[in-house]
Subunit: 510 residues, 2 copies
């Protein structure tokens, strides 16, 4: 190539840039600041902009993302083999909440067409969910879901679909272990997701540890919350069981079918944000776009859930100042400490988070990944912290503590009450949830082009100068409202590909 | 009722009997030995046949199953509220292997029609399995499985079906944690199950922690072991990915379609036995029947896997004498100790195993349940112990260490190389595996009658005197050979209900 190549600092203090030229840069290539490459450096990977001595800090996002294991000359490739991770921030000495930033000007007049529920929540789909209290019944539930779809749904045109909330919990588990509360409350709260319209239909076996009644809302009495056991003595043979379930389903379908969308303020959105298959662009393009949209949602009075404990751990000192009060800051530290201990019991730590794909994409470790990940949270004050599987209590920006694994995180955000999911990806993933719309944002245009029918938005335009974060973020906000209204299908919904829920069970199985 | 009610001791030392009269017995009812009931005692539950003082031992199977919390009068209902559990057998002082019982007379001439594989194993079905290296791809795999079933299978009439080996592992997990070896080797060995004909087709994403190559057999080079990544740059759009997978599937299907069943000796059977939804009859009817059939299979030179660590823990002192040598005995103790520690880390112990259904069915704790559970292993010497997810190495009776949860145990037995599954149940479960035939044996005739199309054999006839253990056991052996030959479908296969695999991951998720 001729001429010099652009550099991209995320903060004035950075002493590395990522390579923005597709195909990467070769030894001898020159950057805009005069740096001459002394290594070949792949696309998206980091190059040192100054000489960094052994033991010196590698700075990105203005923060130490690694310590040089060896002298790194100006122009050298800075990768995970040449640095080691700094210690994570001490949880005992986190910065106190600062006076919350002046609330962004309240954003009025944005609405979407949703299904208003009795409990005040709003659905973005109108689904019959069949909840299960135990793994054994999954084969039967799959069977009835097919039957309902083929035989009953045509008679209930206002119902958007039927989903079986199958999972691997309920029996063969240590149900009295301290951490069992996590999967149990997750299942309880999943059944209450706004997209299920307040109808709760639980299929159990009859002898399982997790009693089906525990999945009903507290004080449930009406026909809208029913349980059925396959071991019920009234059922002689499989056909009788299936008929029993189909009859029960019809009651729920009749009520769901009478529902209609109505205009709802954007403050009824509960948007869960997540990243998966991240690369070095995630923190520069897609995640800032999501952060911008998150700020708009919060300004409109809505709720945003950000998650992924191991991707927050190394940036938690940047988040406690944004806590709405000392209690929220303490809760943030508590969730980090719980996860540190959970990983430690299994002989792991937060560095187990990064993947080969992350590294191939230019991320040199969990600190760099975390700094790019928390950008999704935008700039709003953090009003509450939810333990894994807890249901949202306050509107505004929430930290919903979850593992970073995509399905586990998505499942827990559904339990928290998410009615729309935004997912950013650099490497690409066909991930989709059947329970709520999942919008996918590509971090780079190469992926967005190749997976044209699997991605909903190309944030890669930002790196190429084709759009600004503000433009892309506003477009994402618009897509969220359109999708929540059912006027626009997500790419993955159009293709009809869905993943199973995956429960987080930190307790033992028996 | 008039007259006296029958009693049933499992051992001359027993000081309790279970109630054999359907509907149970009322206060004042008299048993054959002159015991008069002082409590109402439900069907299948225990009644004291002698006065048992506070602190006295409750004996069943000639073994202490509990310590009386309060004085238990002759004729009293003995249930889990009135006893506490004895300490589990110390793992440091287990009895040494005794001279192995004289091998049962070798059983010759029994064959089944199976699919012989290159590695010597034999399939009982001829399935195309699509293995996955990561949870993300499950939605795409479900899609291609449907397409293959609808569009390709009609052209390959000798292929029995296509299964997607979806799971929740592969990314978002602590892949370097010490216990990660369990799920990883489980996935590796699942792909090699005899029912998949040596064809291994791995779908990956491309950036996951579990590299798809790790699921290929060692040294795999031929077309029979293929990997495909959705992130492959050659795929532009979803349709291209799907086409790529379907093309790859055709190569595997062509080879599978050329295979034919051939007569194979019963020594090629690898039968995994399991119980789930147990009641007080499990140890008297269905499990002894399975034990009898297990002895026949071993006598014929075949392989039997028994499992469920928490149901072996309290009976392990009865098993070490049956170990083929000191190494096997030590391995048994080692697997028990590993599980004790695993449960302990999560704040649980082996008592977490029992379910409300077990208790309603008359089982008063894990000791009683364990004593009834290990009966499934028959009387043969134990020739080897497999860690969770390990593949079988020796013919004969193996202890395959697994959790007791039905799907987790079944999944691990499939990884061990099981080609037929036998499952006993007292409460009833619609559980079924798509990967190998699953024969279900009812412990009582009430269940067998009510679930007439879900059960394959009624062992309840034994309690009513309608058949002996030997007769039922021989019948089960015959059913196993018929089913393994594809001449008989299992009840659950006829109904077409299947459960998902459930991996055992004792390591943390990230
Ligand atoms: Ca992430
Ligand atoms: Ca994630
Ligand atoms: Ca069992
Ligand atoms: Ca079991
Ligand atoms: Ca499934």
């Amino acid at each position: 190539m001729t001429g010099t190549a652009p550099i991209l600092k995320t903060h004035p203090d950075d002493n590395v840039s990522i390579v923005l030229v597709e195909g990467g840069l070769k030894v001898g290539a020159e950057l805009d600041d005069g740096t001459k490459l002394v290594d070949n450096v792949p696309f998206g990977h980091k190059v040192a902009l100054t000489d960094i001595p052994e033991g010196g800090s590698v700075l990105r996002y203005g923060t130490v993302i690694g310590i040089a294991k060896e002298p790194l000359a100006r122009g050298a490739w800075v990768n995970e083999h040449r640095i080691h991770l700094p210690e994570p921030p001490s949880l005992d000495a986190l910065p106190a909440p600062a006076a919350p930033a002046p609330a962004a000007p309240a954003l009025d007049g944005h609405t979407f067409d949703g299904y208003r529920n009795v409990d005040g929540s709003v659905g973005t789909k109108n689904l019959l969910a069949i909840t299960t209290s135990v793994q054994c019944v999954a084969g039967v539930v799959d069977h009835v879901v097919r039957r309902i779809r083929d035989e009953l749904l045509p008679r209930y045109p206002n119902v958007d679909g039927v989903v079986g909330l199958n999972h691997s919990y309920g029996c063969g588990v240590a149900i009295a272990a301290p951490d069992a509360k996590v999967p149990i409350r997750t299942l309880q709260n999943l059944a209450r997701n706004p997209n299920f319209g307040g109808e709760v239909m639980v299929i159990g076996l009859g002898c399982e540890k997790l009693r089906p009644e525990r999945l009903l809302p507290e004080g449930a009495t009406g026909d809208d919350a029913t349980t059925l056991f396959l071991q019920d003595l009234q059922f002689t043979g499989f056909a009788a069981m299936v008929d029993g379930i189909l009859r029960q389903a019809e009651g729920h379908l009749e009520r769901l079918d009478r529902r209609r969308r109505e205009p709802c303020p954007a403050s009824d959105l509960v948007v869960g944000v997540q990243c998966g298959g991240s690369d070095a662009f995630s923190g520069l393009t897609a995640n800032p776009v999501v952060g911008y949209a998150a700020d708009l949602i919060v300004a409109a009075g809505g709720t945003v859930l950000f998650s992924e404990v191991t991707e927050v751990r190394d940036a938690v000192h940047l988040l406690t100042p944004r806590a709405a009060d000392a209690e929220v800051a303490a809760a943030l530290a508590r969730e980090m400490a719980w996860y540190d201990a959970y990983l430690g019991r299994g002989g792991a730590d937060r560095s187990a988070n990064t993947t080969p794909g992350n590294k191939a994409g230019g991320l040199s470790g969990i600190v760099e990944k975390a700094l790019g990940s928390v950008v999704k949270s935008g700039t709003s004050p953090i009003v509450d912290v939810l333990g894994p599987g807890e249901r949202v209590r306050r509107k505004g920006l929430n930290f919903a503590a979850t593992p970073a694994g995509d399905f586990v995180c998505g499942t827990l955000q559904l339990a928290a009450g998410m009615n729309l999911h935004v997912f950013t990806t650099g490497r690409g993933t066909p991930y989709n949830l059947a329970e709520c719309p999942t919008l996918k944002v590509a971090t780079n245009s190469a992926l967005a082009g190749r997976w044209h029918d699997l991605m909903d938005l190309d944030a890669g335009q930002i790196a190429s100068g084709g759009a600004t974060i503000e433009e892309c973020g506003s477009e994402l906000f618009r897509l969220i409202l359109e999708t929540a209204s059912g006027r626009r299908q997500t790419a993955a919904d159009r293709l009809g590909i869905f993943n199973d829920l995956t429960l987080f069970n930190p307790a033992p199985v028996t």
